[in-house]
Symmetry: C2
Subunit: 245 residues, 2 copies
Amino acid sequence: MIQFFAPDIKSTATLPQDESAHCVRVLRHRAGDEIHVIDGEGSRLLCRILDPNPRGVMVEIISSEIIPPSWDVNIILAVAPTKNMDRMEWLTEKAVEIGINRIVPIICTHSERKVLKTERLQKIAVSAMKQSLKTFLPRIDEPTPILSFIKEITLEEPGKSAMKFMGYCDKEYPLRRLIQEYKPGKNVVIMIGPEGDFSPEEVKKSVDAGFIPVTFGDNRLRTETAALVGIDMIHFINATANINK
Amino acid sequence: MIQFFAPDIKSTATLPQDESAHCVRVLRHRAGDEIHVIDGEGSRLLCRILDPNPRGVMVEIISSEIIPPSWDVNIILAVAPTKNMDRMEWLTEKAVEIGINRIVPIICTHSERKVLKTERLQKIAVSAMKQSLKTFLPRIDEPTPILSFIKEITLEEPGKSAMKFMGYCDKEYPLRRLIQEYKPGKNVVIMIGPEGDFSPEEVKKSVDAGFIPVTFGDNRLRTETAALVGIDMIHFINATANINK
């Protein structure tokens, strides 16, 4: 199945220009063809092409269904952007494929990258959503100073009620801490620091705000690997709990 | 900690040329400095530099210890090389970081890539081993036709006694099948097909040889994502079992 992404499909019945060009010029769709369109907010619409205009394909909406995510908790990843931008792009793709609700790039004292253009990450997220047959587009925040993020996330739902974990290099906090402490069904915030780790002040403020320090394995993992393993663990614990219900 | 890789360190007490140049020219080590050297077979040696020759650093071995892997089962990944080589390189890096014993590129009927140079994957594996503080270098096979692999893996240990799973797109086989069937502590072979999936003959021969078809999630995952999630699940099931012991 190929999914086209058109956030305003319900009000405009038209595909955006890039999706239109892909639909008509690359995939050679014609008037009368049926296509699947997602709105990034959970709906997948079956549409029939009325006008195959490569600058704006006009469609008739035949039917619409809500496709809920395959996971039932809210997963927020706060991650210090990696020095190498490729690694951040890769993480975005994989997080969306596996399942994520929101990605917040956090700027820390020891961050090697303090500037980040989120436009390209947005495009990667759209592409991964389409490819992995999802219908929800995760939110990608603009880069946020870590202390602002910690303050904000504790004030509003779903962050307020979420369990909060921080990946921290100190050997004192082993993998088992996440496995033992995470309660299936709970919303979750996973925070991963930069290559140079969190500063002592950042650790203190996070712990004061309810973050539980963990490592995600007995190995030294790169930032983006730790983030992905953390997300995967949450999915896995919930999937196992659902099976054992 | 920085680890230098010298497979013949025990017999030669000398670093290979590329590691020597890195040690002396980049890291500016001098005679008398102590460095950590791994042999890729489980040993980490504390060495003192005698001659900081950038073409072959000569050392005196002070002490040697065996660092066992942090996981206690043998994990073999057989994976159809992705069309995009970057994705295969990325998978190699991440699999080594998370923990893998052997990677076998398998050539399938529907493979979009049937030729693969493993030299670059070897380099990536060495780099990931050093970076994640491991001491064992996973084996990376030359590309192997899938039917040869299936035959070979069932004849010799550890493949012979391993549980064998194949990631197969058919919706009939859900995630829970891996979670329910994998027995912690067992060696495992995970086989992931190409973008175009396994052929019916490949599925039949695999199932006849004892492979259990599974999917690794409710999402449509790319080949390299499915492979990584599969490996991660095995680590996670074993880690959870070890905690509950």
